[in-house]
Structure formats: structure tokens, C-alpha cells
């Protein structure tokens, strides 16, 4: 870079203000890490409603229940920093509509997925241009949905699925050093929510699909502050902010009617899982099974939401 000679320049290679962790430590209670209050196999409640956006052919809105500590912090705020966050997202489906002129002939429905974080969704502001993690989420979502859609019934047409994430899950507890485990565990929860919401919106748009595909997350966590010597445990629907260390996590898109997985994303070290005695499954199998169980839970909500909107539409007329 060229130095500006007409001015007195500051020192090269700028400085960064020190971040004093102790400021947030001053007895407000904001720094106590949120603890999981749920049982290992207990899921968070999901709010899901379809048909909220009249201009779209299908739409849905999904919200995860705030964790106990977040609910407490909202009711009785002690700090400006919320202890954790809860997923909120909206999904719209446009189409079936003609393919753009430049597109080649397709005998099937062409799916386009678009996942975008609102700039204020995460603790760190997101830009307006989609970054690679958002594109990655879009591909995952597309894989999950394309397995469920009966594409050959809609030739020559396209379906646009747009998801706006209004509040994202944290990847870690905010008070942890950003390096402590920087794998994007929160993204997996977001993906599970995206799958469930998009499935509801597609059903709302009356696009043929094999089943309502639901998303679920399971993770291996080692919570013991005694150290990582404690064997990691399998937990369903983990909120990354509530755990000291997540070793491995898995998200699935799952269709209960066929017992099939349309999307699987597993990462991390699942070899050290401590399962019950006599359980012969390997760590990754247990993880996938856990995620499927979580997805089954989400599916009951999904089915109920779709049925509810159908019944209310039938009842109105």
C-alpha cells in the first residue's frame, strides 16, 4: 500500500483495543454459562406456522423455544448480552414458475435454495452478500429437499425457496474465547430448522412430495469441567451455548414414512462416544440414530402444523 506523504500517518500495522474479560465478570451473573436443563433426549419446543406470507405460494415461520436461561434473562435482564439465542427463521416458496429463458429444458422441477442470515441474526453482523457458509447451507438444504420432492410431476418449471434467518443459533457460548471450538455447530441447528421450515412451506405450496422431511440434530458433548477425560455423551437437539465442548455433531433430513435420510451432515470425532453397555453401535451410528430421533420429534410438530393450516383452510370455506 502506498503511504500518504501529505499527512502524518499513524503507526503501521494498527493496534486493537484490549478486551477485558473481567468487565463482564462483575457479579451480574451474565457470565455464568447457560446450563442445559433438558434431559439428554428432550427436545426444545418448536413453533411452526404456515401460510403467513400471502404473496408467496407457500411460506412458513419457525421458532425454537428459548432455553431456560435465555427465558430467564429475557424476563429479568441482568446484562445486555443474552446468554444464548434461539433460532427464528422464515421460509418462502415461490413457484412453480417458468425457468429463466437461459435455462435448459428440464423434465423435472428445478429447485433453487437461498439461505440468508439477516445482518442482525448472529452476534457478529453478517454482510448483505451471501458468504460461503450461507451458500453451503443452501446446498445442504437443496439436497435435503430434493430427495423429498416428486420432481417429475412439475416439468419445465422452477421452485425458489428462500429462507431468512432472523435469529441464529450461537456456535459456542459467547463468553468463550472465539478459538475454543470454532467449528460451526450452530450452523447445524440452523440447517435442521431450515429443513423443517422449508418442508412446511413446500407442503403449503401444494408441491408433491414423498413425505414431510424434518431436520434433527444430535451431538456428542463432554460437559464435565473436570476435563475432557469424562466420556462424551449423546445429546439430542443441543444448544451449543449450553455446552463446554462439542466433539461431534450430526444433522439429518429425515422422512419418517419411508425411514429414509435425504440429507446427512456429520462432523467431528465420534469415536469416543460412551454408549450404554451392550450397545454395539459405533459412535457415528449412535449419532445418526440420535439425530433421526430428534427429527422424528420435529416431524410431529411439522405434521401438526401442516394439518392445522389445512383444517383451518377447509373450515373457512
Amino acid at each position: 500500500m502506498m503511504a500518504d506523504r501529505r499527512r502524518i500517518n499513524g503507526p503501521p500495522g494498527g493496534t486493537r483495543p484490549a478486551v477485558f474479560a473481567s468487565n463482564s465478570q462483575s457479579g451480574t451473573g451474565a457470565t455464568t454459562r447457560a446450563q442445559r436443563q433438558r434431559q439428554p433426549s428432550e427436545l426444545r419446543k418448536i413453533f411452526l406456522k404456515t401460510g403467513l406470507i400471502p404473496t408467496a405460494s407457500g411460506s412458513s415461520y419457525l421458532e425454537f423455544e428459548p432455553s431456560a436461561s435465555l427465558a430467564a434473562a429475557r424476563a429479568n435482564p441482568k446484562s445486555l448480552i443474552p446468554p444464548s439465542s434461539a433460532l427464528k427463521l422464515a421460509c418462502t416458496v415461490h413457484g412453480p414458475k417458468p425457468l429463466p429463458r437461459s435455462a435448459a429444458f428440464s423434465p423435472n422441477l428445478v429447485l433453487t435454495t437461498h439461505v440468508k442470515y439477516a445482518p442482525f441474526a448472529a452476534r457478529r453482523r453478517k454482510g448483505h452478500i451471501r458468504d460461503s457458509s450461507e451458500r453451503d447451507l443452501g446446498v445442504h438444504l437443496e439436497t435435503a429437499l430434493r430427495g423429498a420432492i416428486i420432481a417429475e410431476r412439475w416439468p419445465k418449471s422452477g421452485l425458489d425457496i428462500t429462507i431468512t434467518i432472523l435469529e441464529a443459533e450461537d456456535d459456542r457460548w459467547w463468553g468463550d474465547a472465539p478459538d475454543s471450538h470454532d467449528a460451526s455447530w450452530g450452523m447445524m441447528n440452523v440447517l435442521a430448522g431450515c429443513i423443517t421450515a422449508a418442508s412446511a412451506a413446500i407442503a403449503d405450496a401444494h408441491i408433491d412430495c414423498l413425505d414431510l422431511v424434518a431436520g434433527g440434530v444430535a451431538a456428542l458433548v463432554s460437559d464435565e469441567s473436570a476435563g475432557s477425560s469424562a466420556a462424551p455423551k449423546l445429546m439430542l437437539d443441543t444448544d451449543p451455548a449450553e455446552h463446554r465442548s462439542i466433539l461431534s455433531a450430526c444433522v439429518v433430513g429425515y422422512m419418517p414414512a419411508r425411514d429414509e435420510i435425504t440429507e446427512l451432515w456429520l462432523k467431528g470425532d465420534s469415536s469416543k462416544a460412551s454408549l450404554e453397555d451392550g450397545d454395539k453401535r459405533t459412535g457415528h451410528e449412535a449419532l445418526i440414530d440420535g439425530a433421526v430421533d430428534a427429527a422424528r420429534g420435529a416431524h410431529t410438530v411439522l405434521a401438526e402444523a401442516v394439518r392445522e393450516s389445512l383444517l383451518s383452510a377447509v373450515g373457512q370455506l
Partner: protein, 383 residues
């Protein structure tokens, strides 16, 4: 075309007729003995040529070429960079007398490295670098590279790359892995790119550090004494048995299922009829010496976007020519769909858990495909 590119799999749909697809599927799904178009066994990889250290301007590089003419070049460059934020936080904490075990834990985490220190870019001709396919591929390969932290043996360099990038508390290496595919991909480029990246990382050397401790780092000018990023002698070899293998970069394998068969390293025609496509990343566990699973991702099978065939009973041109009894739909046991034999239908639905488990088992088991691939790659780097 622009819309097609959006989809990660759409770009891969070859122009095969429904009849060809059906023929391929039938021969690949023959129980227990799939017949592949090129005569390979289900676990056999395509022949390839590989060389390392081809680019003098990089810290490490490799070139891999498949027999069909597709080639990939990977260059790895390393830069020294100042570590920000985290150590300052830690310093402040210890100054203010925060409980010691906690500060230590944060500190050790900072020493564990940060995933963003590894940057990966993939360039595929015919794709913009923000298209879905390159983004998906680079995220897939990066996550297995930087993954596998959290274990107490982080200093043991198990799997994770980022711990090795730490110089001291204030400085680290930033690694740029640039992947270049030299021609438009003829098949799903993941195996090619993963193998090339693996070899490039194996050949990557970092200059020998001369400074000590928390000093600003300076390095030995002599390139001959530079150290391998993945050390040739395992650090734990003293503790463990003598046959403890080297620490290796991860490798990502592409596996498909067709009917009840599991097939590795599919070419373009084979992946076009796959029921399910999985990308499985593995590495060698330096403690136990066996293979460890790092990540699994489903890849959208292009078979979902193919053109369906029309059974004779529904074909207007054949009306009356064929007795409809010939078109008896039978149940495909692998997918549960009713199909007329010889008539292609685009795949739909997902994959059963048992199939996934079987795929992973085939990769991980002793003497399985994973070991075979890693051993093959170890043979390359001797050159």
C-alpha cells in the same frame, strides 16, 4: 445455464438417455457382483498419475491426473500472521486474577489454533468461485482438515491441522490451499481434488523456526532444513509401538450406492444412476493406528434430475404393439419403488440408515478401502 449451475448436482447430469441409464443401473445393481462400465471392482479406484513438489514458488504442491485427462494442481502457501484478540483476552484475565484453571483452559484453546487460519479456494473451469459446487467442495474438504480438535491430545497433532499452525501465543501461520482443476470436470471432482490436496499437504514444508518462545518469530533461511507440516516421524512413536504410522492429512472418499451395491470412486456415468452419494472423510488415528471418521456429507445424486423413460404400455407410439402384460411393475427392494424393468425412473427419496452404516463400515474396516487409499498415497510421496 446459469440456473443449472446453481445446483451442485445439476452440473453433473450427463446426457444419457433413459435407456442407457436403465442399462447402467441394472448392471451396477446386480446382486453381489456389480458390473462397472470400465470393468473395475466395486472398491477399485481409477488409475491416476501423481507427482509432488512441482511448483517451486509454493510451500507444497501436487499434481494428480486421471486417465480420462482431468488434472488438478494444488499449491499450498503459508504466511506468518499475528494472532489477535484471543491472547489479549487471556492476558487480561490473568492480570485480573481470574481463576487459574479457567484462564488456562482458554489459553490452551487459543493454542489449539483457529479454523479460519486455513483458507481453501477451489477453481473449476466453467464455474464462478461463488457457485454452489466450488463452495460446497471447499467447505467439505476444509472442515475435515481443521476438524478433529477437542481431544486432550491436541498437542499430539491428531488429525487437526490448525494446532500445527501455531508458532507461539502471538504468531501463527496462515495456510492458503489453492486448488486448480485444469479442465472442466468429467466426473464429480471430489476424489481428484481431495487426493491432490492430500498430497500437496504431505509435501508442504515450513521454514525451520530459529526464535524461541514468545519472541517475534524468525526463520532459518536454509530451505533444506525446513520441516514438514505433517512430520514424517510421528511424535507419539516413542510412546507407542514402533509401527505407529505417520500423521496424515485427511482424505475424502466418494461412495455411491446402487441398488444394494456399494461402489467407490464412481465415474460420471455411474454417479448418474446412484441411489445415494456420500462423501466420507477419514484420517489415520495416530494413537491406535486405525482409521477415524472425520465427517460425512450427503451429495445430491444427479439421478434425481434425469429424464424418465416411458414404459411401452404408456407409450402412444407403441399402442397395441405390445401386450400390456409385459410391463409388469416389480418392487425394487433397495428403494421400495415400483418399477418396470428396463424403464428408467429418476431416483427419489433418501437413503436408509443401514446403507449409510454399510458404506462407512466398508471404508473404515481393517484392510478396507480407506486403508488401501491411504497406503496408495503413502507410496506416492516417496518420490
Amino acid at each position: 445455464m446459469s440456473n443449472q449451475r446453481q445446483a451442485s448436482s445439476a452440473s453433473q447430469v450427463p446426457h444419457l438417455s433413459p435407456a442407457e441409464l436403465s442399462y447402467l443401473y441394472t448392471s451396477l445393481s446386480l446382486p453381489k457382483s456389480s458390473i462397472r462400465p470400465d470393468g473395475r471392482s466395486p472398491t477399485q479406484f481409477r488409475p491416476l498419475t501423481a507427482e509432488t513438489n512441482i511448483l517451486p514458488g509454493t510451500n507444497g504442491s501436487a499434481r494428480v491426473g486421471f486417465a480420462d485427462g482431468t488434472q488438478a494442481i494444488v499449491g499450498v502457501k503459508a504466511e506468518v500472521e499475528k494472532t489477535v484478540l484471543s491472547n489479549e483476552t487471556v492476558d487480561a484475565r490473568s492480570e485480573f486474577g481470574i481463576s487459574e484453571d479457567r484462564g488456562e483452559q482458554e489459553g490452551s484453546a487459543a493454542v489449539g489454533g483457529h479454523g479460519s487460519w486455513v483458507q481453501m479456494s477451489i477453481e473449476i473451469p466453467g464455474f464462478r468461485d461463488d457457485d454452489a459446487l466450488p463452495v460446497f467442495l471447499s467447505e467439505m474438504m476444509r472442515e475435515s482438515l481443521v476438524g478433529a480438535v477437542g481431544s486432550a491430545e491436541a498437542s499430539d497433532m491428531t488429525g487437526g491441522l490448525k494446532g500445527r499452525l501455531v508458532i507461539n501465543k502471538r504468531w501463527h501461520w496462515r495456510l492458503y490451499i489453492d486448488v486448480l482443476l485444469l479442465s472442466q470436470p468429467l466426473s464429480y471432482p471430489l476424489p481428484l481434488l481431495s487426493l491432490t490436496t492430500h498430497l500437496a499437504l504431505l509435501s508442504t514444508k515450513l521454514p525451520k523456526l530459529k526464535s524461541q518462545g514468545e519472541e517475534d518469530p524468525f526463520f532459518d533461511d536454509d530451505w533444506a532444513v525446513a520441516e514438514y507440516l505433517y512430520p514424517r516421524v510421528s511424535l507419539s512413536s516413542a510412546k507407542h509401538s514402533a509401527r505407529s504410522p505417520f500423521v496424515r492429512p485427511p482424505v475424502t472418499l466418494l461412495v455411491i450406492s446402487v441398488g444394494e451395491n456399494i461402489i467407490f470412486d464412481p465415474n460420471r456415468e455411474e454417479i448418474a444412476v446412484a441411489d445415494a452419494v456420500l462423501a466420507i472423510s477419514i484420517t489415520r488415528d495416530s494413537e491406535a493406528g486405525n482409521l477415524k471418521l472425520l465427517s460425512i456429507r450427503t451429495v445430491d445424486p444427479p439421478s434425481r434430475l434425469t429424464q424418465p423413460g416411458i414404459p411401452n404400455s404408456e407409450n402412444v407410439n407403441m399402442l397395441g404393439a405390445v401386450a400390456s402384460t409385459e410391463d409388469v411393475a416389480v418392487l425394487n427392494p433397495a428403494t421400495g419403488e415400483e418399477e418396470v424393468p428396463g424403464v428408467w425412473r429418476p431416483r427419489r427419496g433418501g437413503v436408509k440408515r443401514s446403507v449409510i452404516a454399510e458404506m462407512v463400515k466398508t471404508v473404515l474396516k481393517k484392510g478396507g478401502v480407506g486403508e488401501e487409499v491411504l497406503e496408495g498415497l503413502e507410496g506416492v510421496e516417496v518420490s
